[in-house]
């Protein structure tokens, strides 16, 4: 996702001199070409995320569309108050980009696990929260926000996410993508869990169970219509996210479903437990450990929905 992001950003920067990339001394091998091509639209603020975010707000108030870029929690939690006060309150055209959502940098340990970011960003007024599902969605999202739409949080994976969308997509902020049709249940994923959700749907299909898969790339504003349609038409909803079980996709969908009060809707959240993960391992290893791989999710679905035709 990050190479798609930077490639798309370069296209935007070439077309619009307002587009500026500000990094926190990270992005070796990723941002070098951008920096060389657009020296007046690039800034390395140093290892200083609070200042980086304040600078971004200031540049945005002077007319620029500024992307701050760093790894995992550094551009988000380290400078949360700058994001709230300087960016969001001023409705500044700043896109906070975190590369390494979830366990993308799993082996680097707890400090590099971005697992509460969506909850924090969702709670901020004026903030649009995006977590594209694959590189194709990443390109669409980057292009959309480079126009300058106010404060945005853009959660990316890393560099290994597979392309899920083999056909051109019609992507817009706040509109979930239906990646797969089905009426037996709905799997809603956000961010890079999309490939996993599709894999689960394929395993279900082998058993004759037809799952709808929604890529909820926009966490805020959430696509309420898509959630409610799925609830009405499939009656069973499961959210899948590489994020804390609290406050992210599952939390957002729960808010919508509870307030809608639809009868006969079953709802379950699959996400990360409220604990620091002390095990050492890469993304695939940690996902498996925490039940976020397709096989583990299948087992959970069996428990959630024993009435489905599992054999």
């Amino acid at each position: 996702m990050r190479s798609t992001f930077i490639r798309t950003l370069a296209e935007a920067a070439a077309a619009d001199p307002r587009v500026t990339l500000v990094v926190g001394d990270l992005g070796f091998g990723v941002v070098v070409d951008f920096a060389r091509r657009f020296p007046e639209q690039f800034l390395n603020a140093g290892v200083a995320e609070q200042n980086m975010t304040g600078i971004a707000a200031g540049m945005a108030l002077a007319g620029k569309v500024v992307f701050t870029y760093s790894i995992a929690n550094f551009p988000v939690i380290r400078c949360l108050e700058q994001i709230r006060n300087d960016v969001c309150y001023h409705k500044a055209n700043v896109v906070v980009v975190a590369v390494g959502g979830g366990y993308s940098y799993g082996s680097l340990g707890m400090t590099h696990h971005a697992t509460e970011d969506l909850a924090l960003m969702r709670a901020l007024p004026e903030m649009t929260v995006l977590a594209p599902g694959d590189p194709v969605e990443t390109a669409a999202a980057t292009k959309a926000v480079a126009a300058g739409i106010g404060p945005v949080y853009l959660r990316l994976g890393r560099d290994k996410e597979p392309i899920v969308h083999q056909q051109p997509i019609s992507w817009s902020i706040g509109k979930a993508l239906t990646v797969r049709e089905g009426n037996d249940l709905t799997l809603i994923s956000t961010g890079a869990m999309l490939a996993t959700a599709v894999a689960v749907a394929e395993m279900l299909a082998e058993r004759g169970i037809h799952a709808r898969v929604l890529s909820m790339h926009t966490l805020k504003p959430l696509d309420v219509d898509a959630v409610l349609a799925a609830a009405r038409e499939t009656g069973k909803i499961v959210t899948i996210e590489e994020h804390s079980i609290i406050g992210g996709l599952g939390g957002g969908v729960a808010e919508v479903l509870c307030e809608a009060g639809l009868p006969n809707v079953r709802f379950h959240r699959i996400g990360l437990p409220l604990q620091f993960i002390k095990a050492v391992g890469d993304q695939e290893y940690l996902r498996k450990l925490l039940g976020l791989d397709p096989t583990s999710i299948m087992e959970q679905l069996r428990i959630f929905f024993p009435g489905l035709p599992w054999v």
Binding site: Q50, G54, A62, Q82
Partner: protein, 276 residues
């Protein structure tokens, strides 16, 4: 060089800022009057002699920007903006009060002339750096001034910005520190001593001048000659007195918090009136 008459005008404006600040915090029963009184001359000199901004040019992309990073001292800022006609004088009457336009920390929301909303310390200078850098890159002539408190120089984010500005040769950036030597729970010396303060800025590659922050002539001379060095950001360390202008508030920690009421209010106003 400013003539004596013109300095008298600046001193009178500073006195008006003080009168407004005491009146506003009295009506609002609010805190932070001391930090408004200490920067009255700084504001008067900036708005009457230095800043290239007026009510007619608040949206002009080439206007000078002032960022009040010590947002708690907003009574003083609102007062000078009203005095300069950025918004109606009667807005001051509802400062801090239910349904008013002016919040208890500097807000730019619907308030012409306030560039940036502040209130949490250590935010203003990074934003000022961003404004200054954008101005450089876009080859715009504006300057960016940021007023910092001494207490907020405890914030690490300021030192990130203090490192940053010389690296990028932001000589369109001017910091003015209202060095009144008193912060929230004690004197600066007791809490986190900043000394040697000027030497710190110098060692971070800023061009620094120290002035008496109540001497309008000295302030004007310093602020009219920025940048002090081409290619470097400028820092004016303004030595001031917290609560300046009201005898019993001067240099008193209490007046970071206390709101002027009753006899204290009457005496404060009488003292300021007598300074005309």
């Amino acid at each position: 060089m400013t003539s004596p008459d013109r300095n008298a005008e600046l001193r009178e404006l500073a006195r008006q800022i003080r009168l407004h600040s005491v009146r506003m915090t009295h009506r609002a029963k609010s805190s932070h009057v001391g930090g408004s009184l200490s920067m009255a001359e700084i504001l008067a000199v900036l708005y009457r002699r230095v800043l290239r901004v007026s009510p007619e040019t608040v949206e002009d992309p080439d206007r000078d920007r002032l960022v009040l990073s010590k947002g708690h001292a907003c009574a003083g800022l609102y007062a000078i903006l009203a005095e300069c006609g950025f918004f109606p004088m009667d807005w001051l009457e509802s400062f801090y009060l239910n349904g008013g336009k002016l919040a208890g920390h500097a807000t730019c929301n619907g308030v012409p002339g306030v560039e940036v909303s502040t209130g949490s310390l250590g935010h203003g200078l990074p934003i000022a750096c961003g404004l200054a850098l954008a101005g450089k890159r876009d080859r715009r002539p504006y300057r960016v001034f940021a007023i910092l408190s001494d207490g907020e120089c405890d914030e690490g984010s300021n030192w990130e910005a203090i490192l940053f500005a010389p690296q990028h040769q932001l000589d369109n950036l001017v910091v003015i520190v209202d060095y009144n030597k008193i912060q929230s729970l004690g004197t600066v010396k007791e809490v986190l001593d900043l000394e040697p303060f000027a030497a710190k800025w110098q060692s971070f590659r800023w061009a620094v001048r120290e002035v008496d922050g109540h001497d309008v002539e000295a302030l004007h001379q310093a602020l009219a000659s920025v940048p002090f060095e081409a290619g470097r950001p400028s820092c004016v360390i303004a030595h001031t007195v917290k609560g300046k202008g009201v005898s019993f508030m001067e240099d008193k920690l209490l007046w970071h918090y206390r709101t002027p009421q009753g006899e204290e209010y009457d005496q404060a106003m009488a003292e300021l009136e007598a300074q005309a």
